[in-house]
Symmetry: C2
């Protein structure tokens, strides 16, 4: 299911994919086009099997019943792969980015050719289990990705200037798309998550690191060059590995938090333990969690001040932090309120497990096949 389609037609398919099935008349209104234009654009999409007419809807009022158009999500198969230095996470999805299958393997050596082989292998196994050809494959890595082609710098994999897309494309049949991992998550939110209704939003992820993605005017803004991990919170705060006092990563990353609690209790603890201890009333863990959540709140406040986004999505594998530290998060947000008097709370929380990263990679594949604009 991969076809060449006129330009505006893809925009119709994308809009249905993101904002749900609708009649031609409604689509014309939403896209600001005329009814004839929609008839024309929809025709090849129906012929290609990208869209189908579903059962006509008889509105209670009068008039001819409308025929909603919908995508056929299961006519498509995408695979998303997220690389970390420890594991390779992969998922198979349909066009709605719904996860149909998944596989996780330990990372091979970090040598480029070994990683390429491992990715090709996991993709081939998922393709076999899907029982049909894949429409596209998306791969995401932590680090700086240039032009969707080259891993310019990845501190996690210790790679620099690796033409990863070309190397992957040589090993597999479907088209391959490459992106930064946070960009993938951001795109997933933009099309299939809380960003659907907003042209502007920010994504802040909490976990082993602090991730930040920004979408303005429906476009992903490249911000990875200057990450939010080292945003200054308190010049008298704890130290991060880079020697900064009180930057974001000195407060809210899981290594920072577990290390702080471990030091207090003279024993090793896991991240979940830290949150459980804090929930159970342990004073040291409570303090660490509250300071982290407070710092997160301050970051949220800074983001709204500097970007003016109307929505901020909090997520990441360590997202339970915002449940346990809810009050401190709120206090951090309100410490410097500025003049904000908006009615709705712009912050939403998106739960997450590690496969969500791979799903983000699958969305990179989907958006590769359906490029926006």
């Amino acid at each position: 299911m991969s076809t060449h389609l006129p330009d505006g037609a893809k925009a119709v398919a994308i809009d249905i994919l993101i904002h749900g099935p609708r009649s031609r008349a409604q689509l014309a209104k939403d896209l600001g086009s005329s009814a004839p234009t929609l008839t024309r654009l929809v025709k090849p999409l129906l012929a290609a099997g990208v869209l189908v007419e579903t059962d006509a809807v008889h509105t209670p009022g009068r008039g001819r019943s409308s025929v909603p158009l919908d995508v056929v999500p299961d006519a498509w198969r995408f695979v998303g792969v997220k690389l970390t230095s420890e594991s390779v996470y992969a998922v198979t999805t349909n066009l709605r980015a719904e996860v149909l299958d998944s596989e996780t393997i330990p990372a091979p050596s970090l040598e480029v050719s070994a990683v390429v082989t491992a990715v090709a292998g996991i993709v081939e196994r998922l393709r076999g289990r899907a029982g049909r050809e894949l429409d596209a494959v998306g791969v995401t890595v932590g680090g700086l990705v240039e032009d969707g082609k080259t891993v310019a710098d990845s501190p996690f994999l210790h790679w620099a200037q690796v033409p990863f897309r070309r190397l992957l494309a040589a090993e597999m049949a479907p088209p391959v798309f490459l992106a930064n991992d946070v960009v993938g998550l951001t795109r997933a939110q933009q099309w299939f998550g809380h960003g659907r209704s907003s042209r502007d939003f920010a994504l802040l992820t909490v976990g082993a690191g602090v991730g930040y993605g920004l979408v303005m005017d429906d476009r992903v803004v490249p911000t990875t060059v200057s990450p939010v991990s080292h945003l200054a919170i308190d010049p008298h705060g704890p130290l991060c590995p880079w020697g900064h006092r009180g930057c974001m990563s000195s407060y809210v990353t899981s290594p920072a938090m577990t290390a702080a609690v471990a030091q207090a209790h003279r024993r090793a603890v896991t991240y979940d333990e830290v949150l459980d201890l804090a929930g159970g009333g342990d004073a040291a863990a409570r303090r660490v969690v509250d300071e982290a959540a407070h710092a997160l709140g301050r970051a949220v406040s800074a983001i709204t001040s500097l970007t003016g986004v109307e929505r901020i999505i909090l997520s990441g594998e360590g997202i339970r932090l915002v449940d346990v530290g809810r009050a401190a998060l709120h206090a951090g947000r309100l410490e410097y309120p500025g003049a904000r008097a908006s009615g709705v709370d712009p912050v939403v929380v998106r739960p997450m497990d590690f496969l969500e990263w791979a799903r983000g990679a699958a969305v990179v594949a989907i958006q590769g096949v359906f490029p926006q604009r």
Copy 2:
């Protein structure tokens, strides 16, 4: 000189206005169109007198000499008016936003009708001295402006929900455009200042308050709802009038700085005095200036982290701060360097006097007549 022109044609005029005179062939390349399109678009512009052909340029190579096209800046007259609670600043400019005339009067009472009359009066006097009709008038105020029509909330003028554009339009012949004052400055930088070469940049102004403007993807992002004035710098810093400790406005506004030095020396001082004292080695003034410049550096760092802009313009009537406190500004920027390793310094300084605000208002008028896209 006000004409109705096809849509793409205005884009050509705007591009010449911003990026200078060029031949049709060059414009075709820059705008991504074909040569025939350019010939067609240029024709009505020449007929309307918006553009003129200047002397043909004989390139040292071979071929027919190219004929540069340029705008006729002095075929246009715009007036920009900036309102403060103390004064009304107004300038007359041509299409290049070059100041040809200016006038400043004390603000009348802050009552709306009195202000409308005062603005109409100053515009009429400038029009008279210009000796011809005005093409448009731009007015800017501090505070929240909605839709370019209504002053929704201005703490300085103590206005709320004033349909200011309509009231002004009733009193004068030329079209009137209304905007926030920092938006006006931002637009002036975008078209005629350091923003010309960048699609994305931020503007940070220093003076009686702290102003912030953001342009992403050639569009001015509305950020005034949540100003940067109260961006958190140090939770142990000085107090601002809103009760925040260590926010931007507690460090870098001229009232904050003069008050701090006045307290140290037990006597009233002006803003310029503070800077002179610091330059002359006065310890207290030096400290206040350095802390302010350091906070400004931290804000610059936060802006690059969170917006990813490639350029930040520092300006405002108190901009001398960055000269006197240059070292501290630099230290503040580098305190939390993140992963930035870009070659060029994104920060540029734009000198400014108070008429610059009125010039920003004139640019609002110019962009009103030549709307972008």
